[in-house]
Structures are given as structure tokens and as C-alpha cells.
């Protein structure tokens, strides 16, 4: 039981980071139909900013906030400079642009920060808690809590505010959204900014586990994709669920079945789920009425 709970907590910790990153992917996908393949690289770049600030004797929170501010600017610039000029291009072309961005960012990062891997501290360094044998890292609790908080805020915005309704309207029918007076380009810009920030947060929080390097986001980025596919690219709650379940499942299979085969088993199961539910667990296909 102790080992079980231990695995659940560890799973929720990494799963929440997958969920954050997945939410970023889905946000851009839902509003503009583009899949941002460069999200991992962009998050890596933001993490390096946090590291650089920290190395220059800034306190951790400042470094964290610095990375977030950088992500705001980065998201805005990428949308404005690379994506918007191609607004008339088809979706595949736009996705190719984001593939190109991977090269730009990983090249730039190597040029600026080098190829070394750097240690980065945890957000919370307090001593571990012991709850009836289950060792709980305060940092894990912090990560889970902050993820839930961020998602709570995001869902509130999407569900309840005018901006959120505009985001959903744009996601469903961009042309009509324009006809209703919604400035669709502002919505795109905003979704890129929010998504980049979500990626950056995931990056800075995963850094203590992966170290900061140009390849740090590979695993998180890939799993966030899978989380989004599993939960369904068509919903906002799906990727969150997908992220948490992959995190937890990964840990449980690794512990109880086989560490060697866990990747195969987990993704094998995912493929199985997608065979029966191709739109993802939460993906809906609604019927059109005439």
C-alpha cells in the first residue's frame, strides 16, 4: 500500500507537468488548428533563462518569474513574426514552420548556452514529509498544487469569462467569430502567449529531474503530446486527465510489472484505447443538425 501510494504521488507529480504542457498544445491547436511542435524547445529556452537569472544570484522566485515573463514575450514574438505572416498558408505549412522553430531554438540555445547539462534546484527544498511510511517531497506537493491552481484559473477563464467564450467561439468557428466582432488575431496571440507560459512553467519545474540542457524537454514534450492525444485534442479537460493518467500509469507499470517494458506496455495500452476511442477519451464528435 505504501509503495502504491508512493507511486501514485510520483506519478501525479510528473503527470501534472505533462498536463500543463499538453494544455498549452491543445490551447493553440483548438484556437488556430496548428500543432506547435516547437513547444518543448521554447520551454527549454525559457528554462535556460531561469537558470541564467539564478546563476546571476537572483533568488529562485525571481528566476521563475523571469522565465515566465520571457515566455510571454517569446510566445507573442513567435506568433507575430513566424505564424501570423503565414496566416493564409495551409495548416500543414504552419506546422512545418513550427518544426523549423525547433531548429532555430535548439540551434540558438546551443550557441548561447552551450551543450552542457546544468543542475537546477527544486522549487521547494524543505525536508521530506513522512505520512505513515509514504515519503512525500514537499516539492511534489508544490508542483501538483501549482498545476491544479493554474488549471483552475485557466478553466475559470475559459468557462466563465467573455475572453474564454471568445476563445471557444474562435476554436469552433473562426470565420463566424470574426463576423461577431471578435478580433481573432488577438485570440491567437493570447493563446500562443498562454501556451508558451504553460510550457515554461513545466520546463522550470521538471528541471530538477532532467537537469537543464538543450534536450531537457524531449521526454516531457513527447509525453504531453501523447497526453493530449489520449485525452482528446478536442477538449480542454481531456489533456489534463491524459497527463495525469500517463504519469501515474507509467509509475505503476514500472513498479509492479516491469521497468524495462513499462514504455511498451503504457503506449501499447494507449494505442488500444485509441483504437476504440479514436477521438481520445474526452474527444467528442457531435452530430450536425440541418
Amino acid at each position: 500500500m505504501v509503495a502504491f501510494l508512493q507511486n501514485i504521488i510520483a506519478g501525479l507529480e510528473t503527470g501534472s507537468l505533462y498536463a500543463l504542457a499538453a494544455l498549452g498544445l491543445v490551447l493553440i491547436f483548438r484556437t488556430s488548428g496548428v500543432i506547435n511542435f516547437a513547444q518543448g524547445e521554447m520551454a527549454m529556452f525559457s528554462s535556460f533563462i531561469a537558470l541564467t537569472l539564478f546563476q546571476h544570484n537572483m533568488p529562485y522566485p525571481v528566476a521563475f518569474i523571469g522565465a515566465i515573463l520571457f515566455a510571454v514575450a517569446l510566445g507573442y514574438i513567435v506568433e507575430r513574426v513566424f505564424i501570423r505572416p503565414a496566416s493564409k498558408a495551409n495548416l500543414v505549412s504552419k506546422m512545418i514552420i513550427t518544426l523549423g522553430l525547433i531548429m532555430i531554438f535548439s540551434g540558438l540555445a546551443t550557441a548561447i548556452f552551450g551543450t552542457d547539462s546544468y543542475f537546477f534546484r527544486k522549487a521547494i527544498t524543505a525536508d521530506n514529509l513522512n505520512a505513515g511510511g509514504v515519503i512525500i517531497q514537499p516539492n511534489a506537493l508544490f508542483i501538483i498544487a501549482i498545476t491544479l491552481l493554474i488549471m483552475g484559473i485557466l478553466f475559470y477563464i475559459i468557462k466563465k469569462t467573455m475572453v474564454g467564450i471568445a476563445i471557444r467561439a474562435t476554436a469552433q468557428n473562426e470565420k463566424t467569430a470574426k463576423l461577431m466582432g471578435i478580433s481573432v488575431s488577438k485570440i491567437y496571440s493570447m493563446s500562443w502567449i498562454i501556451a508558451t507560459v504553460l510550457g515554461a512553467i513545466a520546463g522550470v519545474l521538471i528541471a530538477p529531474t532532467t537537469n537543464i540542457s538543450t534536450a531537457m524537454m524531449m521526454d516531457v514534450h513527447l509525453k504531453s503530446f501523447i497526453a493530449a492525444v489520449l485525452g482528446g485534442f478536442g477538449s480542454f479537460i481531456g489533456p489534463v486527465f491524459g497527463g495525469f493518467s500517463i504519469g501515474v500509469f507509467d509509475n505503476l507499470v514500472g513498479y509492479y510489472i516491469s521497468l524495462k517494458w513499462k514504455t511498451v506496455i503504457v503506449y501499447g495500452l494507449l494505442i488500444l484505447i485509441l483504437i476504440f476511442k479514436p477521438t481520445g477519451l474526452f474527444g467528442k464528435s457531435y452530430r450536425k443538425k440541418v
Binding site: 467573455m162 467561439a169 469552433q172 468557428n173 467569430a177 466582432g181 478580433s183 443538425k289
Partner: protein
Amino acid sequence: MLNLEGVHAYYGYIHALKGVSLKVEEGSIVTLLGANGAGKTTILKVISGVLKASSGSVTFLDHDISKLAPEKVVSEGIVQAPEGRQIFPELTVIENLQVGAYTRRDKKNIKSSYQIVFDYFPILKERQDQLAGTLSGGEQQMLAIGRALMAKPKVLLLDEPSLGLAPLIVKDIFKIIQEINAQGTTVFLVEQNANQALAISDYAYVLETGKITVEGKASEIKEDPKVLQAYLGGH
């Protein structure tokens, strides 16, 4: 109020509008008739700023709106209920109406606008928390018109509101369009259903392959032998 002067527009190399001029007078209902592919929807796209005219002018209340982005045209007071309803299927009815009020600055008065829309279409009030995609075709059309009304338009553009609806519902909708007009909203109606459209209109234009071929008072157009032949099924 709304004037188009010699408007040309292209889709790529296709010359869709070949010098269209028309006028929508304040307080009137003006109908644009025409067959499929004549360019009716294109005219609405040009007015709404979705498609830019390559030449010619679009003026509203004596100023040029041909260069405005679609969202700015809405703020000017020209709002469209587009062809095929185009409601947001995964938003609730009330959220769809909220989107309609997106450009409104007088947030306090929005509540009374809901009331106005619900007075025209009581069914929308009953269904306000339902996803719009689950409404019937007629209800979706009501929602599309209601959503446009939420923006408090000076001119309401309606693109084939009768499309795909049962005759009885069409009759209702045209009656309500008349009421909306009576309350002071100018209406520019694009239709294939010539009989019903002409019955409620003051003035009408007939569009054929990108050109206005006939225009006149709706009551006269109804008697025009050419129009009768082409759009009213002859005698």
C-alpha cells in the same frame, strides 16, 4: 445608409462581383435575390469586411468602411447572421448570445438585449442552457438572428434565413424579421425564397453572375415578368 458603388471583388482569379451598386435606406428592408453562385453571399462578405473589394466603394453613414477589418465593421453597427446559421455548436444558447454582444461597450444594457431577443424567440429562453448544436434547424436560425441582434445592429444582414427550413418556420421567421425592422433596425436580406422575401421588403435587387440586373420597389419587382420567370416559378 449603406451604399455600395461599383464594387468589384475577386476570389483568386474568379471575378465574383462585376461592378455592383446598391443602396440600403435607413429603416427599410431591402432584399437581394439571385440564384446560387450569383454572388449574393460575396456581397455580404464585402460589406462585412471578410473579403476586400478590389475596386469601388462601400460607405456606411457617409464614411468609407471598405478597408475595415470584420470586427471593426461590427462595431460600426453592421452585423451579419451568416449563411447556414453558423452558430457555435459547443457553446450554450446563452453563450452564443453573449458572443453576439462581444463588441458592446454598454455592458449594463446587455441584459435588456437578452430580454428583447427572448421576446422575439421565446424558445431560446427555454433552451438557454442547452448546447446550441442540439437545437433544431429552425431554432438555430433563430439563435443566429438573436445573436446578431445582441450586437444592437443598425443594419442587420441576413444571409438566406429560410435555407433548409420547413415552410411554417420560414413564415414565422419572416414575420419576426418584419417585427425587428418595425422596431427600427434596418434589414438587408439575401434570399432565394423570392416570394416571401419580396412580401416583407420595401426594395429589391436581383443579382445575376455578379451584376445587378433588375432593381425596384419590392411590389413592382413582384410583377416583373423576368423575375417572375426566374425566381417565382412563373405562372
